[in-house]
Assembly symmetry: C2
Homo-oligomer: 223 residues x 2
């Protein structure tokens, strides 16, 4: 198999809000939606993208920007599925900033795309503070992390447009109270839709993808 | 039951290295060891402390500083075990800094203590960059996070004096390669001791506590 070529962008920082604004203008012109996936390390963001991409195939043309501190392995996993993917390496920084995302977006073939997922650095805290020009932030929380996390890291859950609750196949082996988790999420953000998902068992993905398509449609009508 | 009184410190920042140095001098004088526990959100730091405290009881007198962005629930969990505990709230910041730790330490009865565990904010990235005056950083990684994390977040594994690999009771239900994880850790830091632990099933704790006692002894001899 021919190894996919992955572009790598390194550590471009600078006037975040200005670059976020430029990105929003660019994406509005191109009618492309940018989603900012935020969650802790190992919560299952890449696996979610792998499996969601299969459900979206034939409906939306997608690309992925992979944010990491070091290594290109997440980008390689997605490139193996023939998804256009670029790697953003922060070189130590704990979050993505708008300038790096903007440069990477400009190099994608935006005219051929509908949606771009940006997988942020694995971190529940800092990425929530930075607008990268996205249409929506999506929170990814694994059930292995515990039901108290929305209360302990409230900013992300305030900012997000939906939550994907991953690894629910592990629920039988955990001391995790799903209804308490939902209550905690809704204490922070009363209307937030939550999608319990097991990406490895491919359950719950339909509902998330369905919401995504609907949300995208209503967001583009608002413009 | 009388509710334990928990002191709460908020968002004290400032000249980190200076405060770390002051903490080191204070702790050397008092012969108290400070350990800086660092790991992602929900990796099991508080449960590890709960269970390790039972093993240490009768051997070392311990206290805990609980770092969080918001909420005091982790401190309450430990206070219920009659461990002296203070809560450090960063008010949004993604890591603890030395000044806040110093103030909280000064208010503990250090003459009556041997060891203080400081549970940092749940974050694999930023806390590794800040010296809080600790004797050692200890990395906490859950097997649910995946075996690639040491390569993706190398700084912590370079800085740490040991790794506690938590939630190993979940291994039968995960696609996790333990020997690959160890290999990845040792690629970053060849001699790093790793302790596979299930705190809920109370397995592997003896070995970690044993290392801790031995490390503490050798560190105090070096002074």
């Amino acid at each position: 198999m021919k190894r996919a070529e992955i572009k790598v962008y390194r550590n471009l920082m600078g006037d975040n809000d200005l670059w976020a604004e430029r990105t929003k203008m660019l994406l509005a012109k191109k009618e492309v939606t940018l989603l900012n996936l935020i969650g802790g390390p190992g919560c299952g963001k890449t696996t979610l993208l792998e499996k969601a991409s299969l459900k979206l195939s034939g409906q939306l043309k997608m690309a992925v920007l992979e944010g990491d501190i070091e290594t290109t392995r997440d980008a390689e996993r997605l490139a193996n599925l023939n998804i256009p993917v670029s790697q953003l390496l922060t070189g130590g920084a704990c979050h993505l900033e708008a300038k790096m995302v903007h440069y990477a977006l400009r190099d994608l073939k935006l005219d051929e795309l509908d949606i771009v997922f940006c997988e942020n650095v694995g971190n529940l805290v800092c990425p929530a503070e930075f607008d990268i020009g996205e249409g929506a932030k999506i929170a990814v929380l694994s059930v292995t992390e515990g039901e108290d996390k929305p209360l302990k890291y409230p900013l992300l859950f305030r900012e997000a447009k939906s939550v994907v609750l991953t690894k629910i196949d592990l629920l039988p082996y955990l001391n995790f109270d799903l209804s308490l988790c939902l209550k905690n999420i809704h204490k922070i953000n009363a209307e937030l839709p939550v999608f319990p998902v097991s990406a490895t068992k491919e359950s719950g993905l339909e509902e998330f993808v369905c919401w995504l398509l609907k949300w995208r449609k209503s967001a583009s009508k608002l413009k």
